[in-house]
Symmetry: C2
Subunit: 100 residues, 2 copies
């Protein structure tokens, strides 16, 4: 079942764009691991927050991807710039008005 992970990642002041750059860095392993969509974004009204919206072929695919070396490296690189506060939601996709 398609799985969605949407989240907020609070960053140290001034480091938002650094974290966006790390999370947006092209990683061909993700698609192979079952990542269907992975958008990284910002909202100028929340200058110290990075947003992610991800779709995966399954919850397991998402969770397994966190063991990929490339993903662990990106997280380790970003970690010093994070405050540790994260939020968001995870859900199983049940349908879409874009699909018949």
């Amino acid at each position: 079942m398609t799985f969605a992970n949407v989240g907020t990642i609070d960053v140290q002041p001034g480091h938002r764009d650094d974290v966006v750059a790390i999370l947006s860095r092209h990683n061909p392993q993700l698609a192979a691991a079952g990542c269907l969509s992975y958008e990284v974004g910002v909202d100028d009204e929340q200058p110290d927050t990075v947003f992610v919206a991800e779709l995966w072929t399954s919850r397991e695919a998402h969770d397994d991807s966190l063991q990929l070396e490339s993903v662990k490296e990106a997280i380790a690189e970003a970690m010093p710039m994070l405050t540790g506060d994260m939020g968001g939601h995870r859900f199983e996709v049940a349908g879409s008005p874009l699909r018949d």
Copy 2:
């Protein structure tokens, strides 16, 4: 700039699947209005919440879509089953690790 709208919609107990059905009903007007992705989902740990994750060609396209008759009708149909509590985040997409 691609715009993301991710949200939670709290529903009256027992009406989650009714609201999912309304929001997932095929609506060809959305793609024409700039909707790139629109996923409706559930999390069994939160039985009275419906989740949405949407991508649009722009914030304006998203906001304009709320004036479509088909969208207004769907909202009106779902409204009696909602508690009124909604949450979520809106952001501008800055990049993706799936894209070079």
